[in-house]
């Protein structure tokens, strides 16, 4: 009987002791945190994609509450969600250009010449280390879809021509595809930039046309036709100052190969109608 009482007494004593410790710590050691951080985080998409440049959605929420960033810098949230956050914090949503991933190569199966057959593990990364995957161009898209596999927003798909097509509505500019591409063909540009160079081969003249039908042959006409200084030739390729905003189709009109294009509706490659293609090829 004594033993049981003793055990009960010890357990009760321990319980009381820890209750006191916990109460004291709760009262005196607590960390003050702005309750708005939780509220803001709840409204963020919780993808932790890093497109805003922060370590994750919580880190972004903390910076928002601290007033260091503006809500529109989250490229994943819908405009409604951003307005809600702005309202909650009593700040303006801020202006942020929508940015999307752009592919600097248009040499698909139909356009780029192949010199060898690649028969092996089907990722671009693996193909790139074995004899450059067989395409004649050493800089072009390998077409095995590492970028599409890396995209967590279902915004990047390979088309039947073996080129990645970015769904600009879904793209959040998180940059995962930029890292995934072993040829460094993808970068993040403002959606408003309407002139795009779709070639990355630093070749000129016949050397360029020999490897790919849509290669830039460094003729420089686009640079001449663009408003002063907005396109310059560098390393046999045009470099577009895309921060300058829309430029219109003029610089692209005299391009002999179609390596520089004007994006009428912000979409890079035309959507190929697969049934139509099948009809054409019997």
């Amino acid at each position: 009987m004594d033993v049981i009482l003793l055990a009960v007494a010890i357990m009760t004593g321990l319980g009381l002791f820890f209750a006191i410790v916990l109460t004291v710590s709760y009262r005196y050691l607590k960390v003050e945190e702005d309750p708005r951080v939780d509220a803001v985080e709840a409204k963020l998409p919780a993808t932790n994609c890093g497109a805003c440049g922060q370590a994750g959605c919580r880190a972004f929420a903390e910076k928002l509450v601290a007033g260091e960033l503006s809500p529109s810098q989250c490229t994943v949230s819908s405009p409604d969600a951003i307005d809600e956050i702005a309202e909650l914090l009593g700040v303006s949503a801020g202006e942020a250009d929508k940015r999307v991933a752009r592919v600097h190569c248009a040499g698909g199966l139909a356009e780029a010449r192949t010199i060898a057959a690649y028969d092996g593990f089907d990722t671009c990364g693996a193909a790139a280390v074995v004899s450059a995957g067989g395409k004649a161009c050493s800089w072009g898209c390998l077409g095995l879809g590492d970028c599409a596999a890396a995209c967590t927003f279902d915004a990047l798909h390979m088309n039947v021509n073996g080129l990645p097509v970015v769904d600009v509505d879904k793209c959040t500019a998180c940059g995962d595809c930029v890292v995934a591409c072993p040829r460094n063909l993808i970068d993040i540009e403002p959606l408003s930039a309407d002139v795009l160079v779709q070639c990355s081969a630093p070749l000129a003249g016949d050397d360029a046309r020999e490897v790919c039908a849509v290669a830039c042959d460094a003729c420089g006409r686009c640079a001449q036709d663009a408003p002063e200084g907005l396109i310059r030739m560098e390393n046999n390729l045009p470099v577009v100052d895309f921060e300058a905003g829309p430029m219109g189709p003029r610089p692209t009109l005299r391009c002999p190969t179609g390596a520089i294009v004007w994006l009428r509706d912000g979409r890079q490659f035309p959507v190929i109608d697969v049934p139509a293609l099948r009809r054409n090829h019997g």
């Binding site: 092996g120 693996a126 004899s131 450059a132 067989g134 050397d207």
Partner: protein, 447 residues
């Protein structure tokens, strides 16, 4: 002489079929000059060379056409007397377009190279010797093509006790080093004396796999005939196993010393060189012939006339294969180098490079279908570096590149033993090479 402490082999490794019988008995044969030569400016590890010739300029065989682009870089010489037809993008054997000098041979020229001398290499000051090695365009001829003079310039305060010569040639099919050792043991020995004196080593050891008894015999004779040597040299047989020719494995087999991960042989007082490189060094110092030609093995089931060829560097692969009657309709795959570490050739217009040890032609298409890892552990038994290829492979396929570093991805030498051992045909080395590239990219981005 004291016995070396090594057991003659290392742990792990694999035993692929040797396939050397087609060419190991064939004497080295000189390949005739063709009409066009392509010299990529980057045939070695390090900075590309800078051209010092202009299009249309006449060049002599052995004339400098591109100078080193830095310390870790080397010189490039014309393999032929003729005319520079262009400098621009040309195909590298790996399929990439790279900057190269194209030279058209003069069909009427006798193509001889006059002897020249720089003085006695055994008494010349060391810095001058190192500079000359670079001016001779010397690179390791084992396959990696690392500029030799970089290896010879020991960092301040470091010294080498041993010069280890790699005559293992553990890659199946290849017999070019074997033939050089059998036919030119005196040149190999002369190169060893020059390089050994340069490094100030106590002794040189030539490690040769025991499947080449004639090479061991020839080298021992050459050493006996030479009598008093500046650098005492001995030949040591090592057991036949792949990758015995990896420098860390060779050191383990000869000296029972392990070079720690991430360290170089110099950290244990050794410098390892290929035997072919020694012969090239001897030619340069004794006759003034820079590295303009090398011995390659042309073999494989698709070659009707296998050979050990002395080929001018820059000769198009197509010409070499036509010469050996290897371009039949049944050709499936052409590999530059050995079958374990070699690279598939993506273009026949690409040239033979300084680092090309062989051209292999295969007629059968291998079953490439990859199956799931059955966790049999054969890759672990194969890996001479004690890595876990199975785990690394799974991480690579899951895209967990940063985690791979903790499993010592960077210690992988890409010898191919794990891929060879894998019953599920998982292209492990390919995955690792790709992952290494990604890892470097991630680290560069983090900086």
């Amino acid at each position: 002489m004291q016995r070396l402490p090594g057991s003659g082999t290392f742990s792990h490794g694999v035993h692929p079929d040797e396939h050397k019988e087609a060419t190991e008995g064939l004497p080295i044969e000189r390949m005739p000059f063709v009409s066009r030569f392509v010299l990529p400016l980057s045939q070695h590890i390090g900075a590309p060379c800078r051209p010092v010739v202009r299009p249309n300029q006449r060049v002599r065989r052995g004339q400098l056409v591109a100078e080193p682009g830095g310390f870790v870089s080397t010189a490039l010489h014309s393999p032929v007397t003729g005319r520079v037809v262009g400098i621009g993008p040309r195909r590298h054997p790996n399929g990439q377009l790279v900057q190269a000098i194209e030279i058209e041979a003069d069909p009427l020229d006798p193509q001889d190279m006059p002897d020249q001398s720089f003085g006695d290499p055994l008494t010349m000051p060391v810095p001058e010797l190192i500079d000359l090695v670079q001016r001779g365009g010397m690179v390791g001829l084992g396959g990696a093509a690392f500029p030799s003079h970089v290896k010879y310039k020991l960092p301040e305060g470091r010294s080498a006790r041993w010069l280890v010569l790699n005559g293992c040639e553990c890659e199946p099919f290849l017999t070019c080093d074997h033939r050089v050792m059998v036919e030119h043991p005196d040149r190999v020995l002369r190169g060893i004396q020059i390089v050994g004196r340069l490094l100030g080593v106590e002794e040189a050891v030539i490690g040769v796999e025991l499947n080449k008894p004639d090479a061991i015999e020839a080298l021992r004779h050459a050493i006996e005939d030479a009598g008093d040597l500046v650098v005492p040299t001995r030949v040591q047989g090592v057991k036949v196993k792949y990758p015995q020719g990896a420098e860390k494995m060779l050191i383990k087999a000869l000296f029972d010393v392990e070079v720690p991960a991430g360290k170089l042989p110099l950290d244990v007082g050794m410098v390892v060189n290929n035997v072919g490189t020694m012969a090239a060094v001897a030619d340069w110092f004794d006759h003034g012939r820079p590295l303009v030609e090398r011995v390659i093995t042309v073999s494989g089931p698709g070659v009707r006339r296998p050979a050990n060829l002395l080929v001018p560097i820059g000769t198009p692969i197509r010409a070499v294969l036509e010469y050996c009657d290897a371009l039949g309709p049944d050709v499936q795959e052409i590999v530059m180098g050995g079958p374990m570490m070699g690279q598939p050739v993506a273009s026949l217009d690409a040239p033979v490079l300084k680092g090309t040890s062989g051209l292999l032609v295969f007629t059968e298409s291998r079953d490439q279908a990859m199956r799931a890892c059955i966790k049999c552990g054969r890759c672990l038994e194969a890996c001479a570096y004690n890595l876990n290829p199975s785990r690394l492979g799974r991480l690579a396929r899951a895209g967990r590149i940063e985690e791979m570093e903790r499993y010592h991805l960077m210690d992988c030498m890409e010898c191919g033993a794990c891929t060879w051992a894998c019953p599920s045909r998982i292209p492990l080395v390919q995955l690792f090479r790709s992952a290494k590239g990604n890892l470097r990219k991630i680290k560069a981005a983090a900086k």
